[in-house]
Amino acid sequence: MRRWLHRPRARIAVIGICGVALVIGGLAVAGVFSTGSASFPALPTTGDYRPISIASPVNGAVADPDSMSRQGQDLTSVLSRGAGAHSYRVTLSNVSSIGFVNELDWRPPQGMKIVRVTGSSTGHCGLAEGSDSRIMCVGLRLKPPTCTCRGDGGELVVSFVADKAGGMLAGASAVVAATPVFKVIPAFVQGPDVPPCKPGQKSTASNPCSGS
């Protein structure tokens, strides 16, 4: 064995084996260390993990944007008469799945022009600058609803004076700024499962069953 090792070819073979062992060892060490802070959590790239895209509307099939409603889905508006002549109030409720509403604007129904804002239940509301008759409210913190199906979010009442009534329509409101919440706001409430009624059993409030 010793004699064999003294041969030049044998030496080269030993060095080669050691070299391969070193490379494998080095890669193993690199693998161990790279699973620490330097490794990158890769996301899949197919299906729902592809970049978001929206199909563009067919040319010529888009409605005139000025004819579209400016009412968003995040607030509900109820317009009612106030105490004095030409005085009105609009009640705006947070029904959004976003979170807290911090700023909003409200446009009266067509034909109604706001003369002045006389008060608000929270925040600061006033006539917005510009040619369109619009109430702008800031400094709000209207809480999100417990479920978008309940509509029990925070409420804002704005009192104002207008030149004339706007009919039955409640105008259009839109969220301007909001604080999204981390927790998902549900769109429905899951009720407890009710077991099927046994033969002869009647459903009662204390012992409900279905199909009696």
Binding site: H6, G26, A38, F40, I52, T179
Partner: protein, 170 residues
């Protein structure tokens, strides 16, 4: 053979040290956007921590309302130890009469410390030509970014499921 038996452990040790050195260098070296591999990993983990939250729903919802994919998505490393990131996503609406909207998030690997803000602004480019509109859009994107485009940082992408993905810096 004596020489050989002395050299083998020395060469092996040198190789080992080299491998460790190379690996640790890769972890601390910053990319062209100024982020190290560790910081990129933390950024992606912070965005992954939002996956079960309300945020993906809002990202998809805001994209649907805008009628266009986000015009900008940027992740900026705000502070280190712990790594805090600002994520800025901005939408330019397809319909020019609709408002611009943006979602600003300050996130860490611990989502209980995250903060979110949704803003909107009325567009001012109605009737302008395409080039002028693009210029105005870019200005509005920058106006509300609040340093999100500064380094260290990287671009990001909103995925179809509302998740956020950090993109590689060129």
């Amino acid at each position: 053979m004596k020489h050989l038996s002395r050299r083998v452990p020395a060469v092996a040790l040198a190789g080992l040290a080299g491998a460790i050195g190379l690996t640790s260098c890769g972890g601390n070296a910053a990319d062209s956007g100024g982020l190290t591999a560790g910081e990129r990993r933390d950024a992606q983990l912070a965005m992954n921590a939002l996956q079960r939250s309300n945020i993906p729903l809002q990202l998809v919802g805001l994209t649907t309302v805008a009628g266009l994919a986000p015009a900008a998505c940027r992740v900026h490393l705000v502070s280190r130890r712990p790594n805090v990131f600002k994520v800025y996503v901005f939408w330019v609406p397809f319909e020019r009469t609709r408002p611009y909207s943006w979602l600003e998030m300050t996130i860490t690997k611990d989502p209980t410390r995250d903060a979110f803000h949704l803003g909107t602004a009325r567009p001012g480019a109605k009737g302008a030509g395409l080039r002028a509109r693009t210029r105005i859009d870019n200005r509005v994107i920058q106006d509300h970014a609040g340093g999100a485009f500064a380094t260290p940082g990287a671009r990001c992408q909103v995925l179809r499921n509302g998740y956020l993905k950090l993109l590689a810096n060129p």
